[in-house]
């Protein structure tokens, strides 16, 4: 069959995982073609879109500056009706899987927080140590060098003091490439309050340049807008990586919606097929394929691609594709405080409490990460003060008080992989006629028990320590936008989708790196681990193509 495009390596998806693999493959002398479902858009346009949003959409609607194209829909939440359009969610905690990701060139890196925690050795051995979840097929020692490479590849700033580093019990092979980003008043006061009750708020390692330029990006200037978009590119986003890939000879095709993976003899992958915005189909051949188009879109594409050889979908002889869908179920608490806290200075997230994620209790209930949201609260303070009908001096005083003396605390729980938390193909179709993803989600008793026995009481203590006069807990679990598990990794082909290099057990020339491969979600942000897995996969890919 004829093909329209060909390369050594074809990568579907242009997020952090796809971009790092592209760079590694190009450096190894391989030709690379990247296919992106959505459009390629300049930063200024997204910043302008953001500033032209009404204040009610500037916070908590991180998708709002990214209008989806008809051919590459993603979650949009400007109205309740719009929110139901793309992701089809069901189950007891459907609301907690309302995942925000952007189908634009650059992917969800456009509006990620930039937080780069490593896993602990224990996070990778839940089954062995606590009798729950799954173990990783390799140990922390194996991933450590990839973490270090990932930190240098995307430019992570972090503390040099080992007592402020995470994890506390595993050696780093190199320091962070940049020092930490300073705290504003809110994070400083939050850290002191937490310390009084044994909760250690650590400066977050973050893919934001600290004090210096790095990787062609400027230093962070505290624009306090990491999500929905860093206006100056101080934070790593794949958009800044795309020109580098092109400079190395890589090709990037935007508005190319891959809808089928074609298998051939010996069940190797022969081609992928994509629709362009005119609904014309194109065939793309390669020696090796990487599907890295997000934890929801990747399993969706594998399920869409079922054929005679693979009746359950590509890479799915284990029946695990689309199962074990995970995120960190999140609860938030809105506080009013006696004394000013003053958020809104520095990045929107810059620290977290992680010592609460570890312990023997994990055999019974979930560990959790606590943090304070550091976005500027002035728009919330103003809206609340205006609602009171105040005018003149009284209005200004109340805006200042409600902006300074309020806070949002967040707790994100570790969920266990469950085969019942499952992505399937909805009978509903999108603009191109492609099935929308349907996800059943239940956070499980492990998380619910943690909230009851552990995290909500800790949140209340933390609030009291901050001098809270009001405490309002979110009525249900929410999404954290860390999509994991749908292409789960494991040594056994019968029970896992990919091997330790993120290679599909069923197809020698298909790699599925990223959050989908992670066998444990843990309570911390997933991106650095996804990035480390991408680099590990990149090594395997270049070795495989060099040596056949």
């Amino acid at each position: 069959m004829a093909s329209d495009y060909n390369a050594d390596v074809v990568i579907v998806g242009t997020g952090v995982v796809g971009c790092l693999i592209a760079e590694q493959a190009l450096e190894a002398g391989l030709s690379v073609l990247m296919l992106e479902a959505g459009p390629r858009v300049d930063r200024w346009r997204i910043v302008e879109n953001f500033r032209n949003l009404p204040p009610s959409l500037r916070l908590f609607h991180w998708n709002a500056p990214y209008p989806a194209t008809p051919w590459a829909p993603h979650l949009e939440t400007r109205t309740a009706k719009e929110q139901e359009q793309y992701l089809q969610l069901e189950g007891p905690n459907a609301r907690a899987y309302l995942q925000g990701y952007v189908r634009y060139a650059g992917g969800a890196t456009w509006h990620w927080a930039g937080i780069c925690w490593r896993l602990t050795p224990e996070d990778m051995r839940l089954k062995s140590l606590y009798g729950v979840g799954r173990d990783w097929p390799f140990s922390h020692d194996v991933i450590e060098p990839y973490y270090t490479r990932a930190e240098y590849a995307i430019g992570v700033s972090g503390p040099s003091d080992p007592t402020l580093q995470w994890p506390p019990n595993a050696k780093r092979s190199k320091p962070y490439p940049m020092g930490p980003i300073p705290f504003g008043p809110g994070e400083h006061r939050f850290t002191e309050a937490a310390a009084r009750i044994g909760m250690i708020n650590l400066p977050a390692p973050q893919a934001r340049n600290s004090g210096v330029s790095y990787g062609g990006r400027p230093p962070c200037c505290g624009n306090n807008n990491c999500f929905p978009v860093c206006p100056i590119a101080a934070k790593y986003d794949a958009a800044t990586a795309l020109p580098k890939i092109e400079a190395k000879g890589g090709k990037i095709l935007a508005n190319a919606v891959v809808y089928r993976i074609e298998t051939g003899e010996k069940n190797s992958i022969e081609a992928v097929h994509f629709f362009d915005p005119d609904k014309r189909s194109h065939r793309v051949t390669a020696k090796l394929f990487v599907i890295a188009c997000n934890g929801i879109e990747t399993p969706k594409l594998l399920l869409l691609s079922k054929d005679e050889r693979n009746p359950n979908g590509v890479a799915n002889s284990s029946d695990q594709v689309g199962r074990n869908m995970m995120d960190q179920p999140k609860l938030t608490a809105e506080l009013e405080l006696q004394e000013p806290l003053w958020t809104g200075v520095g990045p929107v997230q810059s620290s977290s409490i992680l010592n609460t994620t570890q312990g023997e209790f994990r055999s019974r209930y979930a560990g959790a990460m606590f943090r304070m949201e550091n976005f500027a609260r002035s728009p919330l303070g103003a809206a609340a003060a205006l609602k009171k009908g105040l005018v003149g001096r009284a209005l200004d005083v109340e805006i200042r008080r409600l902006s300074a003396c309020t806070a949002r605390l967040t707790v994100e729980h570790e969920i266990l992989p469950s085969t019942n938390n499952r992505l399937t193909l909805s009978s509903q179709k999108d603009w191109l006629g492609i099935n929308k993803p349907n996800i059943h989600y239940d956070v499980g008793d492990y998380v619910r028990q943690s909230a009851k026995e552990y995290t909500v009481p800790r949140l209340q203590q933390l609030a009291a320590e901050l001098g809270a006069t009001k405490f309002q807990l979110s009525p249900e679990f929410l999404n954290s936008d860390h999509i994991m598990g749908g292409c789960v990794m494991g040594a056994e082909p019968a029970t896992a989708v990919v091997d330790a290099d993120c290679r599909a057990h069923d197809h020698p020339n298909l790699f599925l790196p990223g959050g989908g491969a992670m066998p444990s979600a843990t309570a911390s942000n997933s991106t650095l681990t996804m990035t480390a897995l991408a680099l590990k996969a990149a090594d395997a890919i270049t070795n495989q193509l060099r040596h056949g």
């Binding site: 459009p39 390629r40 858009v41 346009r45 910043v47 302008e48 879109n49 500033r51 032209n52 009404p54 204040p55 500037r58 709002a64 209008p67 194209t69 008809p70 980003i181 504003g184 008043p185 994070e187 006061r189 400027p218 230093p219 962070c220 200037c221 505290g222 624009n223 306090n224 807008n225 978009v229 090709k251 095709l253 935007a254 508005n255 362009d276 005119d278 000013p340 003053w342 809104g344 200075v345 520095g346 976005f375 500027a376 609260r377 002035s378 728009p379 303070g381 103003a382 809206a383 205006l386 003149g392 001096r393 209005l395 200004d396 805006i399 200042r400 008080r401 902006s403 300074a404 003396c405």
Partner: protein, 181 residues
Amino acid sequence: MLDQYRDDCPTAFNLARRDVLLGGLLIGGIAALPTLAAIAAPTSWSDHSAARFMEISSLLVPHHLKEEIGKRMGAAMAALNPSLSQQIDELLSIARQKNARIVEDFFADVPDGPLKETALSIISAWYLGVVTNAPDAEVFAYEYALMYQPTRDVMTIPSYAISAPNRWTAEAPPLSNMPEF
């Protein structure tokens, strides 16, 4: 269309947020935007109306207000509220009776109901930068929206740099130090 150019969507799917919201109304994409605002403004909204809007705004909001913003915002409010001109006259009349110089001098005399609601909506527009805080609202002011001003000595206006690389600190002035604006 299938290449590496930026902003590469076909015109019909232009990605400027406002074009998407008004998609059905626009034929010529972004070029049609200024004329749309002109169509929306009622013919009775004259320079004189704009001046009266600024006059009542300065009495309701004790801060420096930008005339350019007031001009556009007043026209947009008038398009939504046909009684706006008349209500401005009534508010100005109450203020005049009280020899008011600031809002505290006359606001207690504004009767509850539509007149007070209009007064509050004018104040709200200057603080929020929008006439309605709804998903399809047009934004008249971002960095000049007054909501950011009472905390501008500490808090960042999101997307604007606060100082210089790593130059911010954990220090904050007392709550009672209201900035001048």
